[in-house]
Structures are given as C-alpha cells and as structure tokens.
C-alpha cells in the first residue's frame, strides 16, 4: 500500500451546518503534515470521514488509494488517535491496548512493547480512569501504533501534555515520519507544530486556506528583512542605499534593511568602516506566518457572522462578500 492520504472535493454537512466544504489535500509519506485551523474548522470531521466513521456527502477521503471500509486489517494500515478520553475508566490501560490488539490477532508482547515506547510501562497496570490527560494521550498514541501502520492520524495529540511531553511528542512524530510513514497531525494552535511539521494544511470553516511546505510559508512571512543596529545611522543608510537596498529607520540606532542578504550587509559595512553591533536576519515564527495567512479570514469571520454560506478562505473572502452584496441587492440569481 502506498502510504498516502488523499482528500478530494470532500464535503460534509450536519443539518444546515457545512462542516467541510470542497476540501482537497494530499499527505505524503516521509514527513509530518500539520493540519491546522481554529476549533470548529472541520479538522476532526475530516479525520472521522477518513476513518470511515462519518460518511462523506460528496468527494473522497482515501488512505493508500482506498476508502477506509475497503481496507483489510485496518489497524496495520492506519493508526489513529481521535480522542484521548475514549477509554473505559475502569479498564486498565494495558487491557485497553490488549482488546485492541486482539481485534487483529496481535501478540500481547506488542502491547507491552508499546507501553514502554510511549513511557507508560508500569502505569499500564493502573485503571485508565486515574490517568492524567497526558497519560491518556500517550495511551492513545500507543493504540494508534499497535498495528505498526504506515499512515498515522493524530487529532490534537499535544493537548494536555506537559512541556516535557510536548518535547517528547515532537521528536516522536518526526521519528515516525523519518521511518517513511505519512503522519497527519491536527492542531488548533500553530505554535504546537513549530519544529515538528514539515508541511501544513490550513483550513478555516471547512475550506482549504493553505497547503504549503513550512519552509516556504516561513520564508514568505519573513521576507528578506535584516535588522541592523549601528551607532552611525546616516552613514550606514548611505552605504547600503548605494548598493540598492531599501533602508528604513526603526529607532535611534536600529535599521531595517530589505534587498540585501545579511552577509553582504556585513561586508559592505566593514568595507565602509561603519560601526555596527548587530546584524540579524529576521525570522518569522510559524505563529506569525499563520496570523499573516489567516488575517483576512479572521477579519472576515468577525464581520460575517450571518453569512448563509460561510467561506473562510482568505483568497475568497472578498469575492464572497461581493456575491453576498449581489444577493442582497436582488441580482444574485443572475450569477
């Protein structure tokens, strides 16, 4: 089986509410794909459709080219963590994994092995009702890994983990991807995916906002600005402007330079004998990039609470507003 997740034109409606609207994206093996969007954006619905729990109203959600219901021995093909709280509180953690292992005839030692892997070794003997949220997340991750599947889906796995746990899971996700697995990790907080996701699928109100490698997204958000600190502002501006850079003064001693890489700036200043204390390329955080990306969508959401057909994608916000305007003035039917 090819370890991919393909979502094509997926639509899912609950009553009048459109949870997922014409969503398409692909998750490839060998990298961690972050699945980001605010709460209620349709991440969990998409995952439930992928797992055959909910039926799609339109479009396809395939794993390795097949619908979930057509998978043989599904636990060996896809591992999923949907809701860490989904364990019977009076069952021991180990027993929870045990019944799951039995559905696929997996040996008991696989259960014990995974308890060690996720760091629940001795806690496996305790009732799941007494677990902290972090322990439940670890138990859920162990459950997803039981069948050693090439495709993994984690819905908000970082929720409730302590900093140590967050660090552990980031490394763990990367390691899983490095083994050649396709890993889809959802989160409503972009910062949680910092340092772990290689690729991002951003959705808002059920629609795709962005489908981009993390590196590209960050580069776009960072631009090529370089921050410069110097005691001789005037000379620095003159030297750099002569080489074609755009220089803006931010403060008494600090400048923002665009159009030249940091190394070139250092060389020019040194050659011109201009004193400087700091030259640093500005690097946007993922959170900033995300805010940049969704700014329009967020503004749109704030003003468009009554929209009959919610559209959150930034690129379509203005078009949507225009169409609503047309509808309101009575010639919407003529589109």
């Amino acid at each position: 089986m090819e370890a991919t997740i393909e979502v094509q034109g997926l639509r899912k409606q609950f009553g009048q509410t459109v949870a997922v609207d014409d969503l398409s994206f692909t998750v490839i093996p060998g990298q961690v794909t972050g699945f980001v969007g605010p709460n209620g954006a349709g991440k969990s619905t998409t995952m439930r459709v992928l797992l055959g729990l909910d039926s799609a109203d339109a479009g396809r959600a395939l794993i390795g080219g097949r619908a979930y219901s057509a998978l043989r021995r599904p636990l060996t093909q896809v591992g999923a963590l949907l809701d860490a709280a989904a364990v019977h509180p009076s069952r021991r953690g180990r027993d929870h994994l045990l019944w799951l292992a039995h559905t696929h005839g997996l040996p008991t030692r696989r259960v014990d092995e995974l308890l060690e892997t996720v760091g629940l070794g001795s806690a496996g003997r305790r009732r799941a009702g007494g677990y902290s949220l972090g322990m439940r997340q670890r138990l859920g991750i162990a459950a997803a890994l039981l069948g050693d599947p090439p495709v993994l889906l984690f819905d908000e796995p970082v929720n409730g983990l302590d900093p140590e746990g967050i660090r552990w899971i980031r490394g763990f996700l990367r390691a899983l991807a490095r083994e050649g697995r396709a890993v889809l990790v959802s989160s409503h907080l972009m910062s949680e995916l910092e340092d772990s996701a290689d690729h991002l699928v951003v959705i808002g109100r059920g629609r795709l906002v962005a489908d981009t490698p993390v590196a590209e997204l960050l580069a776009a958000a960072s631009g090529d600005r370089v921050a410069l600190r110097t005691s001789d502002r005037t000379r620095a501006m003159a030297v750099l402007a002569r080489e074609g850079a755009t220089v803006a003064a931010n403060g008494k001693e600090s400048l923002s330079v665009t159009g030249l890489p940091a190394e070139r700036i250092t060389a020019l200043l040194a050659a011109g004998g201009v004193p400087f204390s700091e030259v640093s390329a500005h690097r946007a955080t993922l959170e900033e990039a995300y805010m940049e990306l969704t700014r329009d969508a967020v503004e749109f959401q704030a003003t468009d609470t009554q929209a009959s057909e919610p559209r959150a994608a930034a690129s379509q916000a203005s078009e949507s507003q225009a169409s609503e305007f047309r509808a309101a003035t009575g010639d919407g039917d003529m589109r």
């Binding site: 093996p29 636990l75 999923a80 949907l82 989904a86 799951l100 590196a215």
Partner: protein
Amino acid sequence: MSAPVRTAPYRSQLPPARDGFGQLLHAEWTKLRTVPRWGLVLLSAMVVTVLVSVLAVSGSSVGGGGPAAPVGPDGNAVKDTMQLVHERLPGDGSITARVSGLKGLKAPRPDGGRAGGPPAVNTGKTPGWTKAGIIIKANTKSGSSYAAVVLTHGHGVRMQWDYTHDLAGSATRPDEDRWLRLVRKGDVLTGYESADGKDWRRVGSVRPAGLTGTVEAGVFTAAAPNTKVERAFGGTSIAEGPGRATAHFDELAVNGGEGGRRQATIGRPAARDTVPAVDLASGSFELRGSGDVGPLQTDTDITRQTLSGAMIGLIPLSALGVLFITAEYRRGMIRTTLTASPRRGRLLAAKAIVLGGVTFVAGLIGAVLSFQLGEPIMRRNGHKPPRWPELSLTDGPVLRAVIGTAALLAVISVLALALGALLRHTAAAITLIVVMLVLPQILISGLPLGAAHALMRATPLAGFAIQDAIARYDHAAAVCLPEEGCYPQGPWAGFAVLCVYAAAALGLAIWRLRRRDV
C-alpha cells in the same frame, strides 16, 4: 525545519495480523472481562437469581388435607370418577353402543351435598370435556388402566387411554347421535365411530399399559368440573366444583362378554346419581354421572417455582447487556472500536455472541443452584409424590427448564444490548427493557384471563414459558392461571417469541448502526 525528505515507504516488521471474526470475538471477550464492575454485575445476577428463588420456594407450602388422589398406571396422580355400567370381558371381544343426548345438568354440591359444605358452582355452560362413551377398563378400581371412545360436549369424538393420552376423532356435536365401538384383540384396542351403525371409521389403535386378562367393558358418563374465575388487581378468586352430566345409551352390545351387567360408581363422586329404573339388559338407558376421568393437572410447577429468581436476575443481566454497548458511546470508544473493525454488523454480532455466551453461563450456574437448593425445600413444604412426582435435574422437562432459563437470560441480555445500541443511552435502554419484561408481569395479574394470556403470548415475557416443567394436557380441563405459572403456549413457542424480539431488535440495531455517523 527540514525540507520534505522522500524516504522509502514504511514497511512494518510485525508478523502478519489477522482480523477475522474469531479475533473480533476474542477482542469483545477481552473488553467484557477487563471491566471489573461488569464481573460484579454477573456475579450479582447469579446471587440474586439463587436468593430470590430460594426465598420464593421457602414461602410456598401446601396443606396436608383432602383425600389422596388415585394413582394412574404411570405412578402419577389422576382423576378417575365416573358412573359405569359394565360386564366382564375375559378375552378378545368388542363393545358397541349408541350415545345421544349428552348434556350438562345442574351442578351438585361438593362433598356429596352435605349441609353446610361449600356451595355448588354453576356457570350456565357445560364444560367442553364433559363426556360419555364406551370404555374397557382393567377393573373398577379408581386409577386402573383403560381405553375409551367418547363423545365430548365441546371437542367431538375422542379416543382416550390411561388418563394422559388423547386422540381426536370426528367433530361431532353433543346433540347428535354417535355409534361408538371398541375392539379388543390381544393387548391392542381399536376405537371406531359411526354416524349410522353401518359405516365405521377407525379413530385409533392403542396399547394401554395394564389391559391384560379379564377386563371390564361398559359405558360411562363423566362430567368435567365447573370452573369460575374472577380476576382483579390484588387477587384471583377461582371457584371449582363438580359438574354433572347425563347421556342416553342404546344398542349396547358386548361381544365376548360374560353378561350380568352391573352399575358401578368409580371413585368418589360428589353426587350419587342413580340410573332411572331401566332394564340394564335391554341396552337402552339414561346414565347420569359426575366427576372426571383424566390426568390430575397439578397447579404447582415445582421446577418453575425453584427458578423464579430469574425474573429478578434478568435485571442485572439486562443492565450488563445495555452497558456493553452504551459504555462505548458514552466515552466515544465506539470510534476506536469501529476503526479496528469497520464492519459494523459483524461487530454487533460479535458483541451479541460474547454477551450471550457469558450471560448463558452465569444464568446456567444460577439456575442449576436454584433448582438444586429449591427442590428439597419444596419437598419439605409438603409437595410430595404422587401429586408432585419426584424430579431430577436430568429429567427431560426439568433439564429443558433449567437450561432454558439460562438461554432465556442470555436472549434477554442480547435484547438489552440491541436496545442499548438503538437508543445509545444507558438509562433509557435499561428502563425500556425492564418495562418490556416487568410491566407485563404486573398487568397479567390483574387483567381478565383472555387479555392476560394475550400479553403472555405477545410480549417478550412469553420466553418464560420455557420454564414449564409439568405436563399440561389439553384434555385435562384445567384453568391456565398466570399466577400459578401457567403460560398459554408451549415452552418452545413462548421462547421463540422472545427470540423473535431479540433478533428483530438486533437486526434493527445493525441496520441503524450501518447508516449512522458515529
């Protein structure tokens, strides 16, 4: 943040997995056994069943009074009271007679009409099993072996022998004439009937247990008891008194008989009726009789009474059935379950099998203990042979009742599972199952008999018919009272009704689960 690296697709090093139905059963069993509380529920179901059963039989006693019932050829108590005109038949031969004008008479007072005794019971209707006809009987002692061809008031011509056996002949009305003939050849007796004395139709050939050597051949009249039942919430009053009937016989001929016809009263009738002065030899006379011939239908089913705790034991088992599925919905674990086994129909089937198996075992332990502990208590409380024959766990009917009780509890828990899957709500599903099984129990004690019987046939309660362990005879003219544990249908027919409920609910649950988002 590294750039996407394309690596070789992941290949698991695990040994190959299997996800067949066997694995699914194993997984569901693991689920069931790893919640300690559920084990306690099972245990409590067993304890409650045994405890309630023992308490119920401890409170049941029977007084010693009344004359001992005669004992039939098979050692069980029988009813054998009639008015007989007979002569000896030493070897092979036959008896022929025409019977006409069978009708019920005003009932006599019980206890032979002694002043101050209980009043006569008159219903204005002649009981259907009032009968008159020809008989060949081992001797004139009450309880002896016999074969008879009779015209009944409500059930046409019948051939009956040795109390418990009954064969149907033509559907002759009681006001019609009927010729009857009984032929003895060796130990085989063959009954015939005819409308005109020329064209004879065979009713049946039978071999009663004790008709050897010299026997008595004759004609008799017997009347089934009059029964009046009044039911209301809080109590049932049942009045039963002897009936009385008369019939006219003529063309009486005994082939191979010794002659010397005599009249005899068999048993202890309520009223000593005399034959009006006619010439017995002429073979044309009116014969009045009271009292009945047939099996003595016992009103206490010892086996059922010892198993009565199942009525309460079903409550924890239903709760377990409901919880086995609603606990998954409550925590969202159903999603984990369905990702591991996406074929939802198979999943519910596996749950039903595991639950049914476990509750069957618990029910069986409870039922066996209940019977083994309760039966000696019933004996100590006065339920003794021959009225209440010896029972053993290995007797067919007892075994059916005991294993049937376990099966009954298993099917009820599966029904509860199906309701839980349909309603997805623990309290609602438990309430519904209890209402389905307990409400009819309350209603039947107060409704008129017809409505009570309808409920017992149509609700899941019908399944409890499987606990019937006493023989019930259609021709015994007993009133089937729910409070005496009598179900209006056979044990298997009743159990089938419950199974239909469970199968329908499970089918519906599977159908719904397949169509729903979870």
